[in-house]
Amino acid sequence: MTRFSSFNVSALLLGFTFLYLPIILLILFSFNESRLVTVWAGFSTKWYVELMHNQGIKDAAWVTIKIAFISSTVATLLGTMAGLVMTRFGNFRGRTLFSGMIYAPMVMPEVIVGLSTLLMFVTLAIDRGVLTVTLAHITFSMCYVSVIIQSRMSSYDDSINEAALDLGCTPFRTFLLITLPIILPAVISGWLLSFTMSLDDLVIASFTSGPGSTTLPMKIYSMVRLGVTPEINAVSTILVGLVTVGVITASLIGKRQKQQLAQS
């Protein structure tokens, strides 16, 4: 079966319409002249101009990017370690608990994670702010990174590592010189996923943030509660655009690397 059947074509068309239409409409109405989001009154970029003058949104965006950058970097480091531990370290005491702590945060309702992390910070008298949000984001992001690394390692050929070790390379150098370059695309996609998840998070940030650490999703949420406005559409469009460009670039890099590997 190498052709599309009519069922497949209609399922894909309907499915993709369902997935994309809301986002396309959202983008379209960010260019609407009228303040009414549902009545088209001509093309205008005035909501973007207005956005540029909204200090609250700019501050929140800066805080969010800072948190996302730091948390995704640390999460990639910890998650890569956790992924290697799960796939290459055999059995060790407490492995079941470790695996549980990696899979549970991925499905755990966010309100539970947010509440429990916050209560811990309060108990330890750690002031809520950028730091606490970053710590909370690292914790759930590293689990996603570890799963990406685990699935990459499942098709990893161990004989090259063994060759390096036999030739007297230390385990750490073997990792740095052999394993890391091979699994790098998985590490990069882990970093990207962590970055966007941190950029995205509303619930956990709402629990763990304090004064001065309002993130962009928190800002958008408080605006949405007041009603639908073209300004929210404009800030959403910018975010959607950035993420789309990022994901497509990442996948093109991955594709080119695969082609280079195939050629060599």
Binding site: T87, M101, P109, F172, V228
Partner: protein, 305 residues
């Protein structure tokens, strides 16, 4: 003396053992920032609310004696079971999660199946198109539906313009809007594990079935579905478990009568400032979800190894 000289390097080697360090850094992180907080939630759920900061009583108090006295109270739990609101919210969350998981499974299966059966050179781009919305903000995707579903929104405008309906449909702030929002937001979580499984199915098995005279529909039910069961299970867990505690979707799309426990917990914490009750709500939710979470962990470990 000589024994000591040998022991010190061994001892040092143990401390700087690379293997142990690589295990213990992520291990300690998760213990401290994921597991330990649950113990604190359990502790606070046994406390009583007070007007102070932090707004709950201490579990252990050191009086005159050297031994601390434990002041645990089950008041918060008793309160949850005495007020029917909470039980209703748990049941309604489970109902909404089950129904939306089934809806997501049906729609997700059709899409995953179609992607897996598409010509090979199309699969990459189709899968990419499924994943792309998953990368864009959850909040924004839910927000996009408000403009579509509200009474003077785009859907009603469209249906009235082409003359299918005369009066606008009331969808916004109902359970239906919550279902639409959940299916929309969680669809990629269902499609990805399903696709990973469907793609691996050996086409020869399907051909063998049809060669032996099995009709396509029967082949689908007796061969394809059983073979994709691990994907179905993984997808259902990935949707069901987080949806039980969902907050954003019922808050933005649901009405005042849409009861979901995630919303109740949020309200107890942020509006009522009753931390012990919020903690008790979380502990009971966790008790409901611990079996599905463990089953999910088992299925994932099996899939990777």
């Amino acid at each position: 003396m000589s024994i000591k000289e040998i022991q010190i390097p061994v001892f040092l080697k143990r401390i700087f053992n690379g293997r142990k360090a690589v295990i213990s850094i992520p291990y300690l992180w998760l213990l401290f920032l994921f597991l330990f907080p649950f113990i604190i939630v359990l502790k606070i759920s046994l406390a009583q609310p007070v007007v102070a900061m932090p707004p709950y009583t201490a579990l252990l108090s050191w009086g005159d004696s050297w031994w601390p006295t434990i002041q645990a109270s089950l008041d918060s739990y008793l309160f949850l079971f005495s007020d029917s609101l909470y039980i209703k919210a748990y049941l309604s969350s489970l109902r909404i999660a089950i129904i939306s998981t089934i809806l997501t499974l049906i729609i997700g299966y059709a899409i995953a199946y179609s992607v897996a059966r598409a010509p090979t050179r199309w699969r990459g781009i189709l899968l990419m198109m499924v994943i792309l919305p998953f990368w864009t903000s959850f909040l924004i995707r839910v927000y996009a539906w408000i403009g579509i579903l509200k009474t003077e929104g785009l859907l009603n405008l469209f249906l009235m313009t082409i003359g299918i309906i005369e009066k606008p449909l009331i969808i916004m702030n109902t359970d239906l809007a919550v279902y639409i929002g959940i299916v929309y937001s969680y669809l990629p979580f269902m499609i990805l594990p399903l696709y990973a499984n469907l793609e691996k199915i050996d086409m020869n098995l399907l051909e063998a079935a049809s060669d032996l005279g099995c009709r396509p529909i029967k082949t689908f039910w007796t061969v394809t579905i059983p073979l994709s069961l691990p994907g179905i299970l993984a997808g259902c867990f990935l949707v069901f478990i987080p949806v039980v505690g969902e907050f954003v979707i019922p808050d933005l799309l649901g009405g005042t009568d849409t009861l979901m426990i995630g919303k109740v917990l949020w309200g107890e914490f942020f509006y009522n400032r009753d931390w012990p009750v919020a903690s008790a709500v979380a502990i009971i939710m966790l008790a409901l979800l611990v079996v599905p979470i463990m089953l999910y962990q088992k299925s994932q470990e099996k899939a990777i190894s």
